[in-house]
Amino acid sequence: MLQELSWKVGGQQGEGIDSTGKTFSSSLNRMGYFIYSYRHFSSRIKGGHTNDKVRVSTVQRFSSADKLDILLAFDQETIDFNGHELRAGGVVVADAKFNPVLPANIADDVILFSIPFTKLAEQNGASIMKNMVALGATAFVMGLSPDFCAAELQSKFGKKSQKIVDQNLAAVQAGYDAMKAQGQDFPELHLAPATPDKHLFLIGNDAIGFGALAAGVKIMPAYPITPASDVMEYLIKKLPQVGGVVVQTEDEIAALTMTIGASYAGSRTLTATSGPGLSLMMEAMGLAGMTETPVVIIDTQRGGPSTGLPTKHEQSDMNAVLFGTHGEIPKIVLAPATAEECFTATVDAFNYAEKYQCPTILITDLALSLASQSAKMFDYDYVTIDRGSLADPADLAKVVPGEMFKRYAHTSDGVSPRVFPGQKGGLHHVTGVEHNEVGRPDEGQANHVKMMDKRLGKLKGVELPNSVTYQGSENPDVLLVGVGSSYGPIGEALERLQQAGLSVGHAHVHVLSPFPVKALGDRMKNAKQVIVAESNATGQLFHLIRFHGLSHPEMQSYTKYDGTPFVPGEIENKVKGSMIEWQR
């Protein structure tokens, strides 16, 4: 019996591969298994290979598996393209329609079963149900009951018609029976039962959208872009229910400036984008910094530069997010690592943005934003709404008519109370031009220095809570440092290395600005060797650590930038390799 299993379905884009993966994953999630599902897709709508790699586990996992146990193929390309991932003894179940064959580069003992998915689907009503037939065949291999997906199908089609549900279930049964008729049983591929806990099943972007609702967001101006669009699409459905609205803007410049206008006028507002849109937002980001307007920007990183790899994973926007916009402004940059944290970090982002009155960017990566994953139930008690420093109406009443409210009053912590237009006694001016306390342009030398210090001082010396998490030995031989979705693969590599008796640690960075110099520095001090693992070509996190004055004599950068996220085995091998290297 397996505690976890890795399964993949593949075929041509537009053929229902996504919904096959979704039905499979959701059904198992409902049974209490933990799912991590990562889609391979291309920037085209129909045609082209696509697949969904699903990890099913009795414990929570945040990464795809290194190997594959079961491959479900709707075309030969799927077998040729993914066959090398199969472990020895793995199983391929393919549609008999295309006369599948195993390629030469496949592991020993991989067995191919050719099942007439399409034909059986046609016999049961319609060829589009070939996916259901395939799921039935899989169920048999994994030792699941053929009605494992009944609840999911009921909730998906039940409202439309019971007939559709029944037809689909019949197709699943047909696939199950056909597989059984092959006369082979697969006890080594049977899944251990799950504890029937209730988990959420969602993508990171859903967690961000939900977090935004919980944080009281009412407005989202945004321009569609992969892999950010889901946040917008989720909120388009939900915001009207709370009296809010999504505006599909003409571009990202409009998206961010509209966000600034709405935040200035008192609404909690966010926008979401990816690399190309982030570049367009740079000038406006400076306006938010200069005018001390709290805005929340979601940047879901994809492969760059330029249009780059729109549907592939990368972590290469960190420099742009941190150092982008001309001039110098304070910025908060949060980098969640899991779907749960996408929720909490979004809630935090609004509180920080309003507390420090500066742009706050939540940076994710494609794997985190788009992987469908099981998540522990979100904790409502986590949600607090802190609107930061707001002017006291009693003080506003004291503003002499004809005088302006000091929106940029100098205070001990640099944060000045806000008012919203429409408030009595709050008249003031806001500008991206250097200004005085009431917001009037002021180019004076002393004023500029004082105002720069005020704005930048808001984050000086600040280390936000939980900005670095740590697992592993207190004084590790090798310390792994990562950010974003590599939390999963690094964490799992750590587990395996520890099981192998090695002394390792994993420090994960959850806040890129203000940079957790102390929290990370403390971990680096205790390590003999440091490896910074990240998904970009130039080692942006590696250099950021050094930029902040942290150094280590044995510090190396480990980068991957082929468009796919790390899997645990890669990190594991890297650590083993560098330990041998180091001992020499």
Partner: protein
Amino acid sequence: MAILADFKAEKPTWCPGCGDFGVLNALQRASVELGLDPEEMVVVSGIGCSGKLSAYFGSYGLHSIHGRSLPTAQGVKLANRELTVLAAGGDGDGFGIGLGHFIHAMRRNIDITYLVMDNHIYGLTTGQTSPTSDAGMITKTAPTGAVEEPVHPLHLALVTGCGFVAQGFSGDIVQLATIVKRAIAHKGFSFVNIFSPCVTYNKQNTYEFYKSHVKKVEDDPTYDAGNRFAALERVTEANALLTGVLYEGDRVTFEDGHAKYSTKGLATQEHTLSDDDYVKLLADFR
């Protein structure tokens, strides 16, 4: 009730005689005559000499970035529909770098008023060609005369479906104030293009030029401001040298088109989800 002095703020630094004084004046008058409260108004401006308007007008003011007054102003209005929101800027700001936003603001039809101080030149950057500079005009960046066809803002507005299209002249503050009043009162996006001479860098489009060339539609009893296509024809015939309300019609605003969208300002509304909503929303994720 607010008086003229309430709408005054800092003393303008425009060149003496700059057309933008007239625009500021007309806006102040219109605001008084409409009985507006400066604390319930926001003027969002772009960058340019014209963009300084927000600092000189006595309401809440937001000086945005070059070309982006419109999306910023739309954001303000969305956050609080109870406010009177204006966007203001120059011809370069609105028809050059910000032209895309202009078209989309008209499509979107959020209830704000847009004042463009069209001096056919880049004032603040000291005299370069603007998108409305006449063909042949000699400027710093067109020493042998501009060769590009100018942008035609009134035509653009009329064909884009803008619900309120007007043109004024800062040499006629009385007419301009009347136009601005109607523009603010109009429900939906309203656009007022204003001939606002730059006395320093544009020796071609001067007060004298406009005084002798511009015709007021109020003086023409045959002018029908309720007919978009007729307006297009008249504007074309007059080489756009017409002032007054050129077109006004009814269109559903963005705000009203989103039936569930809050009619009250969002700043002070409940931000916390109810337990019930929280549970219901999470039930989607299975």
